[in-house]
C-alpha cells in the first residue's frame, strides 16, 4: 500500500500529462469526458492521493485550522464544556474538509514556545482561541497576527471576531427566575472575574436582581474558578450567611456547591435553592437535578468554524460577532417544579 505515486506516474499510466491529471483532480472543466474517466480510473485503481505538502507549497493553504486552549485552568477537562466544544468544532471542520490541530497550552512556557509555530503564516489557515482571560497577552499577540482568528467567548477588546453565548442574558434570566419564586437572600458562586464570561454572568445576575429590587449582598457572594472543588469552597463561605437561594455561575461549581450543602445537612431545595449555568449532563443527573441555563456548546463550536471559514476564504472580513442564545431549564433544585421520577434515561446531549 506504499503510496509514493506522483501526478507524473498517474499521467504516464493514463497516457496523459501531469497537467491533465491535475485538472481532473481539481475539477477543472476543460478535460474531455473520456480522458477524465480514464484518469479517474487510474487514480481509483492505484489509490493515489496528492501530496499535501507540495500542494500547500503552491496554494498557500494547508487545510489545517488550529484550536488553542490555554489550559492554565486546571478544571479544563473536568468540565465537560471543553469536550462539547471540541466535538462541535471537530464536526464542523471535518465537514468543511479541514483538519483540526489542537494546542493545549498548560503553562506560560508552553504558550511562549508554541506561539511562533501557531502564529506562523503558512502553517495554519486559521485559528480558534478560547478560554482566554482579560488582558490576555497571548490573545493580544495572536490577534496581531496575519492568521485569520476567531475567539470563542468575548474578548476584552474590539476588532476581533468572536462567537459567544448570551452570558449576561442567561444570568439575568436566572436572577429573575429566583426572584419570581420568592427568594430574597440570593447568593452567587461567581465565575472568575478576569474572564469576560465571569463578568457578564455577574453583571447580568446583578441586573436581574435589581429588576426585582434586590441588591446582591457581598457576603452572599464568593467566586470560584469553574471547578467542582472551588464551588464547594465558595458555598462553604456563603452558607455562613444563610442564603435562601444560590446561583452558581457554572454547573460544575453548582455540583460542588451541592456537595457542600449536603455535607452541611442542608436540603436542596427545601432549605436552599440552587441553580447552575451551562446545561451540562451533570446538571441533569445531579441529586436533585439542577435548574440551569442551557447553552448549546456544540452549536457554538460549529458556528465558530463557519465564521472562521468565511474569514479564511475571504467571503467576509473581520470582525464578525455572533452571540448564541441560551435557555432557562427549570428543574427541581430551585423548587420551581416537583421532583420528577428519575428513570435513568440517557442524558440529553444538547
Amino acid at each position: 500500500m506504499k503510496n509514493s505515486l506522483t501526478l507524473e506516474d498517474i499521467g504516464r499510466l493514463a497516457g496523459v500529462s501531469r497537467s491533465t491529471v491535475s485538472r481532473v483532480i481539481n475539477e477543472s472543466t476543460n478535460v474531455r469526458p473520456d480522458v477524465r474517466e480514464r484518469v479517474l480510473e487510474v487514480i481509483g485503481r492505484t489509490g493515489y492521493t496528492p501530496n499535501a505538502a507540495a500542494r500547500s507549497l503552491v496554494s498557500g493553504r494547508t487545510g489545517l485550522i488550529g484550536l488553542v486552549i490555554p489550559s492554565r485552568v486546571h478544571s479544563l477537562f473536568e468540565d465537560p464544556y471543553f469536550g462539547r466544544l471540541i466535538q462541535g468544532i471537530s464536526a464542523a471542520s471535518n465537514r468543511s474538509g479541514a483538519a483540526l490541530t489542537l494546542f493545549l497550552l498548560q503553562n506560560e512556557s508552553e504558550e511562549e514556545a508554541l506561539f511562533p509555530r501557531v502564529a506562523h503564516p503558512g502553517f495554519l489557515d486559521g485559528l480558534i482561541l478560547t478560554a482566554t482571560r482579560m488582558r490576555d497577552p497571548l490573545l493580544a499577540k495572536m490577534a496581531a497576527t496575519d492568521v485569520p482568528i476567531v475567539i470563542v467567548g468575548r474578548p476584552d477588546f474590539d476588532g476581533i471576531s468572536y462567537v459567544d453565548v448570551d452570558n449576561y442574558g442567561g444570568a439575568r434570566m436566572m436572577a429573575a427566575h429566583l426572584c419570581d419564586l420568592g427568594y430574597r437572600r440570593i447568593g452567587l458562586v461567581g465565575a472568575p472575574t478576569d474572564t469576560t464570561a465571569g463578568l457578564d454572568r455577574l453583571n447580568g445576575f446583578v441586573e436581574g436582581l435589581a429588576e426585582s429590587g434586590i441588591a446582591l449582598n457581598p457576603r452572599l457572594r464568593a467566586d470560584g474558578d469553574y471547578s467542582e472543588a472551588s464551588g464547594y469552597r465558595a458555598m462553604q463561605r456563603i452558607i455562613l450567611h444563610r442564603p435562601d437561594a444560590v446561583f452558581a455561575a457554572s454547573d460544575m461549581m453548582a455540583i460542588g456547591a451541592l456537595r457542600a450543602l449536603r455535607d452541611h445537612g442542608i436540603d436542596v431545595p427545601g432549605d436552599v435553592a440552587l441553580a447552575g449555568f451551562d446545561g451540562s449532563s451533570g446538571s441533569k443527573t445531579a441529586v436533585p437535578p439542577l435548574t440551569t441555563i442551557l447553552q448549546n456548546v456544540h452549536a457554538s463550536g460549529v458556528r465558530t468554524v463557519e465564521v472562521l471559514n468565511s474569514l479564511i476564504d475571504g467571503r467576509a472580513s473581520a470582525p464578525i460577532v455572533d452571540i448564541q442564545e441560551v435557555r432557562l431549564i427549570v428543574r427541581s433544585s430551585t423548587g420551581g417544579v416537583p421532583a420528577p421520577a428519575n428513570e435513568g434515561a440517557p442524558v440529553d446531549t444538547s
Copy 2:
C-alpha cells in the same frame, strides 16, 4: 507582521547565500561563528520562520501526529478519561515539537470520509488510535497503512504497537479486595465486551473472584457502555438479585450505579459496597467517595507519544507493547475505611 520572507531574503539581508542560512537554521556546524551570528540577528529582527510546506515537501516529514478517536461512544466527553488522555498526548507532543491533529469520528460515514486523509502517507508523521472495538474495521485499515501507528488500549490482533493499562490485573485486584472484606454476593456492572478493555476487566474480575472460591453469578452481572446512564440502568437490574457488593468497570458507570442505589434507598456501603475503575476525579467527590482502580491516563498518553516517536524516527520498529500499572485506591464506598471528613480540597489530578 506579514511574513512572506524566504531563505533567499534572509540571505540577501545577511549578505550570504540561502544555503548558509539554511545551515544556520538546521544547526549544521559548518558555519563560521560570526556569519552564524549575523544570520541569527537578521532572523531575529525580521521574525522569519521557515515555510512548513516547503520544508516537509523535501524532508517528507510534516511534524504532525494524528489522534483518531472513533467516538461512536456517546459517552466520549462525558467521561473525563478522554480529556485526560488528550492532555497527556498533547503535553508530550508539544514537548517533542510535533503538532497534534485531532480526528473525532462521530459515525461510520465520517470514518469513511476521513480515512483516506488520515492514512495518506505524507500528511501525518504518525498516528495514535484509541477507543477501538474488537474486529474494528477502521483499526484493521489503519494498521495496513505505511504510517507509523500506536494504539491506546489493546488491539485484538498482533503485529501492532500499543500502550495499555493493566485492566486484567486491576479488576482482579478489585475482586480480591471485595472478597477480603467478606463480601460474597458480588455483582458486576461490566464494560462493553466488544472492547478488549471490557473483556480484560471482566476476565480479571472473574479470576479474582475465583481465587477466593467465588463464581460470578450471571444474574449479578449487567453490562453498560461506560456512560453514567448505562451504569444506572445496569445497577437497576442487578439490585433485584440483592448483591452485597458491586464492581462497576468504570467510574462513570459506578457513579450512575450509585445514583440508582440512592434512588432505591439503598445505602452505600451500609447495604451494598460499590467500587469503580479509573481513578477519575468524580470517584473522589462522589458521595460516598468510591473505591477504585487508579490508572494514570496522563502517563499513558505521554508514553504513547514516546513510543510513536521512536517508531517515526526509526529508533525502534513495531510492534512495541507497553502495559501501564494500576493501583487500588480504597475509599469508603466499599466500607473498608471510615468515611473521611471531606474538606473540599482540590481533587487530585493524577
